[in-house]
Structure formats: C-alpha cells, structure tokens
Symmetry: C2
Subunit: 420 residues, 2 copies
Amino acid sequence: MTAALTPSTTKAVDLGPAVELVSKEEGHRQPLAPEFVSAEDFSPLEVGYDFGRVRREDIESGPRNIWRYKKLLPVPSNVEEIPNTEPGCTRLVRADNLAKALGVKRLWVKDDTGNPTHSFKDRVVAVALAAAREFGFDTLACPSTGNLANAVAAAAARAGWQSVVLVPSSLERAKILTTAVYDGALLAVDGNYDDVNRLATELAAEHESWAFVNVNVRPYYSEGSKTLGFEVAEQLGWRLPEQIVVPIASGSQLTKVDKGFKELAQLGLVEDSPYTIFGAQASGCSPVSTAFRNGHDVVQPVKPDTIARSLAIGNPADGPYVLDTVNRTGGAVEDVTDDEVVEGIRLLARTEGIFTETAGGVTVATAKKLIEAGKIDPDAETVLLITGDGLKTLDAVEDKIGPKATVAPSAAAVNEVLGG
Amino acid sequence: MTAALTPSTTKAVDLGPAVELVSKEEGHRQPLAPEFVSAEDFSPLEVGYDFGRVRREDIESGPRNIWRYKKLLPVPSNVEEIPNTEPGCTRLVRADNLAKALGVKRLWVKDDTGNPTHSFKDRVVAVALAAAREFGFDTLACPSTGNLANAVAAAAARAGWQSVVLVPSSLERAKILTTAVYDGALLAVDGNYDDVNRLATELAAEHESWAFVNVNVRPYYSEGSKTLGFEVAEQLGWRLPEQIVVPIASGSQLTKVDKGFKELAQLGLVEDSPYTIFGAQASGCSPVSTAFRNGHDVVQPVKPDTIARSLAIGNPADGPYVLDTVNRTGGAVEDVTDDEVVEGIRLLARTEGIFTETAGGVTVATAKKLIEAGKIDPDAETVLLITGDGLKTLDAVEDKIGPKATVAPSAAAVNEVLGG
C-alpha cells in the first residue's frame, strides 16, 4: 500500500482544520495519513474537518492566492509563509459577448489560465505539496501527459524539492519541454499512459519519501479544487451562482466545486441558495455523459479518442459521485464532438479574448449544447470553468485558423483585402 | 500625420487625470489628441497630468487589476466598467532560491506571465484601447512579431472592436495561431518587420478610425508600463525597491517604470527613497548597452541577431532616455549572449518554478552578470521584471533540454536511473 507513517508521526501533523480521513462510501474514520483508499470499505478517502468559526474577514484579509482559504483546506496554518507557486485568485470575467452569442442573460467565465503554469492543476498540486511536507515527504511525483506534469515540476522547483514526473515517451515535444525546463527528474516511459499510471502506483508503494500527488496524497490534492468554488462565490460578492458548467476528467473537480459551495453555505459565508451543476465531456471520452444519458449510476470505462487529452480519462474514478452531484442539483452531463470543441475554443477567443485549451473548448461547447437543449436556463446566471490554456494545445486549432490574407507591403493591398 | 480629431471633439474626452500632451525635449504643451510627435520640436509626446490628491486607500479599494491605478493613468474615470481584459496585479514573488544561486540577499521576481495573454503587453494595450475609445476610434491595430499581436487581438475581441494586426509572413506558425484564434483581421505581410512597421505608419495616416497602439496612440499606450512600477511598490508594502532590472526593447518600459516610481514619490504614496535602475539587452541587439559602455548619450542603430526576438529592436526610440534614467539613478546597462539567455531561462525555472520567454532570460542573465561585476549591490534589495512567458518561445530551449532518461515501464528501471 502507500507510504503510511506511524501513528505517533501522523498525530503531530498540522493540517489546519483537517482532523481525519473519512471513507466516501460508509463514512469510516481514520487518522490523517498519506493514504487514499479505505481499508474498511475500499472506497476513496476524503478529508474530514473541524472548521470552527470562519468569517469572511478572515478570508478577505488573506493573501491574493488560494491560501486566503487556508482555514478550509488541509494545509498547515502558516502555509502562505512557505515558498510555493501562489496559485489562485484568477479572474472571474463577466462574459457579455459570449452570453449574447449563446443567448443567455448573465454569464461569467472563471479564467484559470492565469495560474503560474496556466492550468487549475497549480491549485491541487500546491495543496498536495503543503500536506506532503507535513507528512515528511521530500519528493513530489506524478504520472501525467500534460498540465499536471508542468504544475508538479514547477511547484517542486519553487519549494526546493526533488520531482519525479513520468510521461509516455510518445508525448509531444512541446509538453516535454514545458516540464523539463524545471530540471526535475522527468522520465519518458516506454509505454502508454496506462503503463505510466501503473508504474506510478508501484513506485508510490516502494518509495517512502515520494508523494505522488494523485496517488498517495490524493485526498489532500483533490481538496485544492474546492478553491475554484470558493473563488467564484467570493468574486460574485459572496454568493453562489445559479448554474455552473465544469469539465470532467476523473470527475474530482466537479465534486469538489460542489463540496466547496456546500461548505461555504454550511459555514454561513454565503446564503444557502440552490445551484445546478452541469458536467462537460468530449464525445471521444464520454463515459460519465453516457451513464447520465442512460440513467445509470455506475460508469462503464471507455477507450479515449479525443483531442481533449487533458480530459481523456476512460475510467474516471469519481464518475459515480459526479452522477450523484449532477442528479442531486438537477443538472446534466453532456458531451461534444472534437469539431465542436474547436468551435468552442474559437467562440470564447472571438467573443471574450480568452484562449483556452481543448478542455475549455469542451466546457464552452457543452454549455452551448445544453442551452440549445433548454437544459441550462438562459435567464439564470451561469459560470463556465475554463481550466487550462490554449498555448498548450495549439495542435487542436492548427489546421482551422490562420491569417485572413497574405498581402504585399502596401496600404493599397491592405485596403483591398479589408474593403477599406 | 496621425488621425487627429477636431479640437471640439478632443476637448470632450475624459482621460481621467490626463490634461495635455507635453513634448519630451522642450516641454511644449498641446491638447490631448491621438498624436505622438511634437510638431514644435519633433520629440515624442508624453501625457501631462493634474493628479490632484491620490491616497493609498483610493488604490487599495480598487479592482484587482491595473485600473486600481486609474487616477494615475490617461483613462476614463469609469474605465473598469467597460469590458476589457483586466490585466495586472500579477505576482511579486520572493525569490530566495534564485537569490542564493546569484549570491544576493533579497530578491523579488515580478512575474508578468500571469497576464491574460501572458505578457506585459496586455497592460499597455488596455490603456491604449481605453484612451482610443475616448478619441472615437473603433479599430485596434499594430505591427508586431509576437506578444503585442496576441495582446491587441485579444483586447479587441473582448472590447467588441475590430483589430488589424500586421505580421511578417515569415512569422512562426505558433505565433500566427495565438493571434489568429481571436478572429480579427490578421494580415501576413510579404516583407520583413521594417516593412511591416512602415506599412503601419502609412495605414495610421490613412484610416481615421484605426488606433495603432504603438503609433498614433503611443503616448497613452506607453503609460501602461507605469503600472509595473506601481504594482511593485504597492506589493512591497508601499515602498520603492532599492534596485530593479528591466529588459530593453524600445526602452519605453524602463523609462515608464522610473516615471511610475517618481509619481508615487511625488504624490506621497511612497517615501522618496533612492533607487537604481539597470537595463538588460541581448548581445545580438545591444545598441543601448553599447552606448552606455562607451559613455555616449545617443544610440547607434544595429541590425538585430538574437533569439530574444521580443527585445530585437535595432533602433530603440527611447534609447537616449534609457541612458538618462540609468545614469541619473546610478545604474548600468549590460548585455548577454544567447547562450546566457537560455541559461537565464533555465536558472529561473529551476530555482523558482517560473518559465519565462527569452526576454526574461535576458533579464535574469543580465542580473547575474551585473552582480558578478559588482554593479548590482548584493546587500540591497533587487527586483527583476519578468515580462513574458516561456510557452511562447519554446524554440529557444528546444535543443537544450529534455527528459533525464527514457526507461522501461518498471520500478526497477526507474530506480536504476535515479539511483534509488
């Protein structure tokens, strides 16, 4: 299993309000430790808290990054003083142009491309590293094919940690460069992503000082996604949005945004107003959307085939919980074709000047489809989560866009082309 | 000349505290208008202000973007309410790892890669657009080979404006894509960058509704760089740094950071403490560094040949003013080779987890050189301006970095490579 430390060591950890781990299925409780599956019911472990009293002022007077929410996260109480990449507090953009194009009244885009390595992964990795430090790890690791690799390598560099990042050897050169530049142990593995994943689990069991962010410290890591929900609520003036569209890879992010909203309401930080959560997938990897459409509560694994590689998890661990959340809030899960994904990228860029990666194209295109189907209420306020940057998936748009024209270097030539 | 409007129109413009244009050489004053060269002494025009009283609270209670400084910029008093890309308020990172590597005590990195299109150009373009709107323009335009093209196309899309972006037809495909995605009029011009620049000046004179950000509305555009200085001072707790290193392209940014510092001191927003400004160039385009070294007060144009393309301006318009500023503050201008630039990129990534473009590599490498030469005081606090993102100049590092190893998908293979 994972590198669990002895009880005496785990007792000493300062993870702020976090007090225990709780199994997701049957609620078995156990001490905080670097473990991710319950030995009782084999379901995922989640962090349990004793929040005490948290006031808006505690948050508003905090730093301009995710650590302003430290009283709601499994991190040490002095977390902001330890060198870290300082992710979060990205823009929430009022998207009136896109709203008009989609035929809705009030629309917001949460633009997480502003993070240090330009995806929401900086949030979850920062929380994972902060917790891992408390558990005595000294190396940050992950299997990845993209955003996570960038985030782990950068966060480790900044923290003065070693990093071990495993990627398939077939990975595109650009994604290798954007990880290798941080100078950790980037290893190209001769195999596909499944091979790399299996290797990560094997290595996590062997190396007691390696924290695999999405394996042995996953309960802490995944809590980082709550900060997307916290920020949206705070940026809306301390209230919950009526509708939100979230992309689905493992499904963790969607369930954690929901958890974040619920915690804010429980703590009285926002009014406990109803909200609806929608999930977005690419048709080439749509196991959760398929299950939703068929009314199933389990998810059948699929073999991914889509340009939205950062969402291409064929067997999403949190798929059933996504279905629970979406059904509970009256939402839906929908999927869109790769052509629609590219159209989504272009629509957001053209209307709001935000260039997102394929995952963001999935979110925009799915929102469009749900609006056209009458599932998203056009009169209710909607937030779209844009979680990664178009600079990282240029290949997706490569064949579709280019200059309007090539002209001779004269005003006459330009005027002719532009009809001026 | 430029598209100057009639006096009756220009009188009505609301550009906040901006009240006039002043010629840089002899101080001739004229009304606010979209003009950039004085007809009296042919020197550049700068914005003149009547700031009135500005308090820290006015700024601190403003939005988390450059508009918190609107009382110090030539923009309408309601500027934050008009859709814009909301640049600024990027991270100021305490860089202890890099400080140790360079042998200095207190070092900060201003990481402007967090802007909407990941360079400081979003700042200057946002100010240019806000001023241009007041003058009645409806199209945002520029000649560019990179960051500026991205920023103009994105800002225009968000504002609902047309954009006309002129690039050399030989431009790398990636840079064309990151501009074309915003769906403005991107035109590839058969010619080099000088041809494109000449064409821009020609078109600016012909099209009364086109605001070329760095031509006819340049006095407003360039003021946007002051916000880098404002933010550094505010983020340091309302004080000026002792030393700052700024990359030099046209030289405008360096002089405007200085102007920003001076304005803060004049207004009593910070203590009027001494500071030293250093300029950084690539050896392959180092006209200002060469002039500084030779004790000249004019700058001899050069033909650029460097991987730091965003700094490759062979005839920098503000070169003489850079020399004035650096000499006045007791600083220096230095230049570094392309190999040193790549080393600078890698050093910043390895120590602080920040991946910068070649211009940032120039800044880091120049700082290193100036420290080693004893010109930067290792005991005084230093700020490095990192103005653009490594994702945009991957070609610079392409041949230098990669995976540590390619391994079989087994723990044994990984352990052998890592000596674990």
